[in-house]
Symmetry: C2
Subunit: 352 residues, 2 copies
Amino acid sequence: MMSGPGERPRNATMRDIAARLGVSIKTVSNVVNDRPNVGPGTRERVQDAIRELNYRPQVSAQQMRTGTSGLITLAIPSLAGTYFSELAQAFADEAQRRGRSIMLHSTAAGREEERSVLAGFTRVLGDGVVFNPLLIGEDVLAHLGRTILPTVFIGEHVEEADLPAGSDYVRTDNQSAAHDAAAHLLSHGRRHLAYLGALESTEAQQEHSTSRLRLGGFHRALAAAGVMEPVVQAVPAWSQEGGISAVRTLMRQHPEIDGIVCGNDDLARGALLSLHALGIEVPGKVSVIGHDNILEAPFTSPPLTTVDPDKRTLAATVLDLLLERIEGYDGPPRVVEAPYQLVERGSTAAHG
Amino acid sequence: MMSGPGERPRNATMRDIAARLGVSIKTVSNVVNDRPNVGPGTRERVQDAIRELNYRPQVSAQQMRTGTSGLITLAIPSLAGTYFSELAQAFADEAQRRGRSIMLHSTAAGREEERSVLAGFTRVLGDGVVFNPLLIGEDVLAHLGRTILPTVFIGEHVEEADLPAGSDYVRTDNQSAAHDAAAHLLSHGRRHLAYLGALESTEAQQEHSTSRLRLGGFHRALAAAGVMEPVVQAVPAWSQEGGISAVRTLMRQHPEIDGIVCGNDDLARGALLSLHALGIEVPGKVSVIGHDNILEAPFTSPPLTTVDPDKRTLAATVLDLLLERIEGYDGPPRVVEAPYQLVERGSTAAHG
DNA sequence: TGACTCTAGTTCAACGATGTACCTTGTGCC
DNA sequence: GGCACAAGGTACATCGTTGAACTAGAGTCA
């Protein structure tokens, strides 16, 4: 201990411990892994030596011998954006609970970057991959014989038929979620609904198809209720500021609007602020509903009703599937629907 | 290719390639690592086989042999919070540029979790650690003989004297940053400044000491300018909603205020919204300055002047130091001051 | 021709941990 | 006394990769 400055010492190995005590390496291994056939005295002496030499098992050696490292790669577009950063946090927490570590791989660079995730990153590293593709299409997936590592896809951009062998899919049904959000407003007597979140530019392409799906669900709900000509309001970006300016435009052009379904909670926050500034009561005159249930959603004014994708359960489900595959399951691709839930707060209310 | 469903095949190894071609494993290794002493014909045949068998080198075996894996652990409190999630993204990007991967370790669980980071996570994994401690104190660091892996500390909670052997420190000088922010307002003729961001509860303890340092810098700037009795406004949390309500209180109790230094940009965004709602012009009547330069700062209304800690440069600096240590440097701890920069936007302006 | 060098390889050991198979004691029991 | 048997170990091979050391053959040059 307190070795002080000097040569950076090699980390202690089982060999060091064995040598110091005059026992075999295997006995040390047995102590570390809580295996039988070690006398209580020996066990204790080994444990003392482990503490003294500050021994830690070396994961790479374990992986060589046993085939697993406890490492899981999480490949998502970017942490910039509330949803993905909260999702990553959920994965990190759930992985830690299971004694696993998360490797973060950002695919913001686009299609090539995503393809390289599937190709195995040019190096085999870790035991499995959680992958949220945005750009990779059927063409790529369909020609992928089999993933090199156990993989679970997440998101909404994967066709079930394209799932490669050795992978599973936890699907988020954004279309239904948006449908339910709109239906919620309709059930409260709102009839003049707007969808806030269409993107003009393909620049923010990442949210684009999410937006398209949510818009689809919105239309479906309105069609089912016989409400015609719903209003679709474009935004410059899925951000709070985008919501603020867009809602100003929206209410000027469509003063009859009494309910707004927002593409995500950042937009919804902007909508709330804008409505407040315009002196329009929420939920008295206009109801607002968001998507994602971000951490701040309960603290907006009024508190935001939103669709909760339950990131923690999603992460847990995904990791359970992945760990099953890592531990040997090799059946056909499984598809699991990720649950979501409408969380009702103050920004929506029944209408006289 | 297209192996289809069936037994999950072992990943191909160099041995497989060598066997198929009747060459030695070492020759395959030489091709993979672009080493000389391989004839052009042989090289090509090996490359073809690599493609056919979809071979990828196995990092754990490489690490065993060479001692490095290309993996770096990033231990930060949590991704919930704009600053840390943008910081993590910066690290992920910079690491990818350097051909390294980031392992994410969340220390939100607190002191014990932080201690275990220093103790080496109970398993040796990866080549080095980037660690932003919040709670670990001198007592722990000082008794740490030497870190088990090369480590670079970041943040502001480390005393230089306590740095363990084998580590470096990239310090963020929050006190000076807050000082400069206040001085900026003073130089524009503002005299009635408030600091927004003191925390009553120790619940949000993570930001607590950051807040304390920034408040210290604020006081220092005012004292130097001879401004007495600055106002310090408490907030329930360092969030936008916290800023909104706190600024309402602040302006009611202190209508003379003409400049607000905010603990972070989320608070500052709240301040801008609140001031707008109160009909107080920014920057006409009150100037607002934030901290962190979050991605949305340029898009607030008016655009937010803020202190930019330049997360990308920080990440690059940290990784360079860490990689030097990983590659063998074993000198005494180095301390580097992370630069920051005041980004002037519309929320501050000179005062008549 | 002989001494040398260069190219294109080969063989071997080693990194650290662990599963399998084997060995050595001491004890209990007939 | 002889044997079985368990408890508490040891010895060895192995996972995939790479550095060091070696070799066989061809070309160079005095």
